[in-house]
């Protein structure tokens, strides 16, 4: 069996994960680039006399995902301290907040449909709907990732499990940042 000392080198999984993150950054960057080009083409934003979307549900999304990032961070801290109870609590709260985020997105879509911003009513609603779909789909992937952490209490000190926690967390925080950018550029301003 080939053994490679990784003392002086990152773990292959870390390198692979970094590359995957670059791919995801490029995916969302392409979406933001498209958004920028479409928006700067218009003289008024929102175009076609649409009103901005009510900020209620976007705020709920923002707060829930910010909190979830906080609790996920707390989870990994308590995992390091081998505190099963607290770690478990934080992990469950993270997961629930992720669900709250998805529900608030669903409410946002319903709300937009109610005020006439249905998917097919022009570029403004295309962007709002399309980009939130893509992001929400990734949140679902993130939630699945969180499920893979649930057996943490059997894996204290296991290096590959520590990496798993690190990577799921990074992915989750990344989605958090993407949402904040979306919130700022698409809803707030």
């Amino acid at each position: 069996m080939q053994k490679i000392s990784t003392q002086d080198m990152k773990h292959p999984k870390e390198i692979a994960f970094t590359i995957l993150m670059v791919s995801w950054v490029m995916l969302f960057a392409s979406l933001f680039l498209s958004y920028a080009l479409l928006r700067f083409k218009e003289t008024n934003w929102p175009p076609m006399g649409f009103e901005s979307v009510s900020l209620l549900w976007p705020w709920v999304s923002t707060i829930s995902i910010l909190l979830s990032s906080y609790f996920l961070h707390a989870f990994s801290k308590f995992y390091d301290l081998k505190n099963i109870k607290k770690a478990n609590k934080n992990l469950v709260i993270t997961f629930l907040l992720g669900l709250v985020f998805l529900v608030s997105q669903k409410m946002l879509w319903s709300h937009m449909n109610e005020v006439g911003l249905v998917v097919s009513s022009g570029i403004f609603s295309s962007i709002l709907h399309g980009f939130t779909w893509v992001h929400a789909a990734h949140i679902v992937m993130g939630l699945i990732g969180l499920c893979f952490l649930r057996k943490f209490y059997n894996n204290f000190g296991d290096e590959s499990f520590q990496l798993r926690i690190k990577h799921v967390s990074h992915f989750w925080h990344f989605l958090d940042i993407v949402w904040i950018l979306m919130f700022l550029t698409m809803f707030l301003f």
Binding site: K3, T6, Q7, L20, V119, S126, G130
Partner: protein, 573 residues
């Protein structure tokens, strides 16, 4: 701590050995078969296209009446659009990519860097299976009620939106490309990680064969830019399926509508790196083969690797040269023109190094070498024609003519195809443990070379004369009628080239079963894959080799016992 890798046991059943195999060598061969299968389909489509251009309104011989019974064997106009769309798509994404990157990447990377497998074998297997799903989606699109995609391999809106292509063919095309993007990204992650982490002890980056450099840079470009294409086809799918309007200009085209040009930006941000994704593996292989068969160290190998890297970086900055005619501001066109021209500097270094390697070499004209010399020739021609297209003033005339088609077939089709053949002839003994027949290989080379130059040179001539690409019957325009004879010549050349592939197919299949048994190192080169038996054992290396010198150590006067090369595992004499 230590990291063990390649922990899977030798497979025993048929399924685990040939279908669900984790072994990079098997996955490489799977990609090879996959690519050759699609190469055949894409090639048949090319012949249908060429027939239509040379003999408009005449029935395609033999197969025509079977394929198009309603028109008595004549290729109908909508089918013609479908044919050139799928020809391009299949050749780029389903033939070149699987063969050059999937097959050679998988097969060669672990063997040439002295590893026992890829970093993530399971990921690697999934990458192939996902590629199969993608291929099935693409082929399925042909059987939808309104036929396959017909908006060109670039699938520009509005041709590719519901307005231009109703029906599910184009949607399946988008999904197929998206799925393939996922597969290739997974492969790329594997390649990059493997090269970074699993080089044999002692092998620095500049001790890697240039083949590995090419494949590695390609993987990096893939990981960065495939997601951009993914985003583009995803938004296009949303437009088609859910009714968004990202790429739809409204009737008034004033406010609140999408923008078809946006797709061109997204497509070419990916698309220009993509052309280098396709050529870099071939460049790497040719850089190695020229040295191997000239029995000389590669001239300026380090500079070759660095100029490939420079080209990789610059290739991300020039995509605008595909969009000079989209009413871009002159400031932008001039910028993109200048950046495009900048690529000639590293390209010229690369090319000069090839010639430097050949200079005063004791060249052996074995088939891999012939094909590599072919690449040098056709790539030189193709690269030069790029300059005329990269210059705004000439491109305004040449854009969307057959000159562009000639250009990219020289750089991409011809160079990559010849590079792929060179690689196949070179590694066939290692892959299957048997030799291919040299005589047939040489016949194959010369017919292919004559055929393809006839085709692509002809394309540049008719393009320069003003013949537009993608027209069903260009000769409805009077000024193009004079070009019918040249178009006939191109078609005959294409037929010749098609026939020229028969010796290859025969040679390949025959040698697979009946070829002469291959020795361990038939070409007498020193890279790591030739230090082990042909074909290699399940784990490649009994013991992980230690690398002590570079891959191109030829003709060292200190070498003893009649050898003119040394293995990478030997101390430099």
């Amino acid at each position: 701590m230590t990291y063990a890798h390649g922990k899977h046991a030798a497979p025993t059943t048929f399924l685990s050995k040939y279908v669900f195999s984790y072994d990079h060598k098997v996955i490489g061969k799977q990609f090879l078969w996959y690519g050759i299968f699609f190469l055949g389909i894409g090639g048949m489509m090319a012949l249908l296209i060429r027939w239509t251009l040379a003999f408009p309104g005449e029935a395609f011989p033999v197969l025509g009446p079977l394929l198009f019974p309603y028109t008595d064997g004549v290729v109908p106009p909508d089918t013609y659009s479908m044919l050139f769309t799928l020809h391009g798509t299949i050749m780029i994404f389903f033939a070149i990519t699987p063969i050059l990157i999937g097959a050679f990447g998988n097969y060669c990377i672990p063997l040439m860097i002295g590893a026992r497998d890829m970093a993530f074998p399971l990921f690697n297997m999934l990458s192939f299976h996902i590629a199969v799903i993608s291929g099935v989606l693409l082929l399925a699109s042909l059987f939808t009620p309104m036929g396959g995609a017909a908006g060109g391999w670039t699938s520009y809106p509005t041709l590719s939106t519901l307005v231009g292509s109703p029906g599910s063919g184009q949607t399946l095309w988008c999904l197929s490309i998206f799925v393939l993007g996922v597969s290739s990204t997974m492969g790329a992650v594997n390649y990059i990680t493997t090269v970074i982490c699993f080089r044999a002890p002692g092998m620095g980056y500049f001790d890697m064969p240039l083949t590995i450099w090419g494949l590695w840079l390609t993987a990096i470009l893939n990981a960065i830019f495939l997601p951009v294409l993914g985003a583009g086809v995803m938004l296009l799918t949303f437009d088609r399926v859910f009714g968004t309007t990202f790429f739809l200009a409204g009737a008034a085209a004033t406010s609140g509508s999408g923008d078809p040009i946006l797709f061109q930006h997204v497509f070419w941000i990916f698309g220009h790196p993509e052309v280098y994704i396709l050529i870099l593996p071939a460049w790497g292989m040719v850089s190695d083969f020229l040295s191997f068969f000239a029995r000389k160290p590669a001239f300026g190998a380090k500079a070759t690797a660095l100029s490939m890297t420079t080209i990789t970086i610059l290739s991300t900055l020039v995509y605008g040269h595909h969009m000079f005619t989209t009413q871009m501001s002159p400031l932008l066109t001039q910028t993109f023109m200048t950046l495009t021209m900048t690529i000639s500097i590293p390209s010229a270094i690369l090319f000069a190094n090839w010639l430097g390697t050949l200079y005063k070499g004791s060249i052996r004209f074995d088939s891999p070498m012939l094909f590599s010399l072919g690449v040098v020739f056709v790539f030189g021609l193709g690269g030069l024609t790029g300059l005329y297209l990269g210059t705004v003033s000439t491109d305004l005339y040449l854009h969307d003519t057959y000159f562009v088609v000639g250009h990219f077939h020289y750089t991409m089709a011809a160079s990559v195809l010849l590079g792929g053949f060179a690689g196949t002839y070179f590694w066939f003994p290692k892959m299957f443990g048997r030799m291919m027949d040299e005589k047939l290989a040489k016949i194959h080379f010369w017919i292919t070379m004559i055929g393809l130059n006839g085709v692509f040179m002809g394309m540049m001539v008719v393009g320069f004369a003003g013949m537009h690409r993608r027209l069903y019957n260009p000769f409805v325009y009077e000024f193009l009628e004079k070009l019918i004879p040249i178009n006939k010549f191109i078609t005959y050349s294409a037929l010749l080239m098609g026939v020229g592939q028969l010796p290859f197919v025969w040679n390949f299949v025959y040698s697979l079963y009946k070829g002469k048994k291959a020795p361990q190192n038939p070409w007498e080169v020193g890279t790591l894959e030739w230090t082990i038996p042909s074909p290699p054992i399940h784990y490649n290396f009994e013991e992980i080799p230690t690398v002590k010198c570079g891959p191109h150590e030829f003709g060292n006067p200190n070498l003893k016992d009649g050898r003119d090369f040394q293995y990478q595992t030997e101390e430099l004499v």
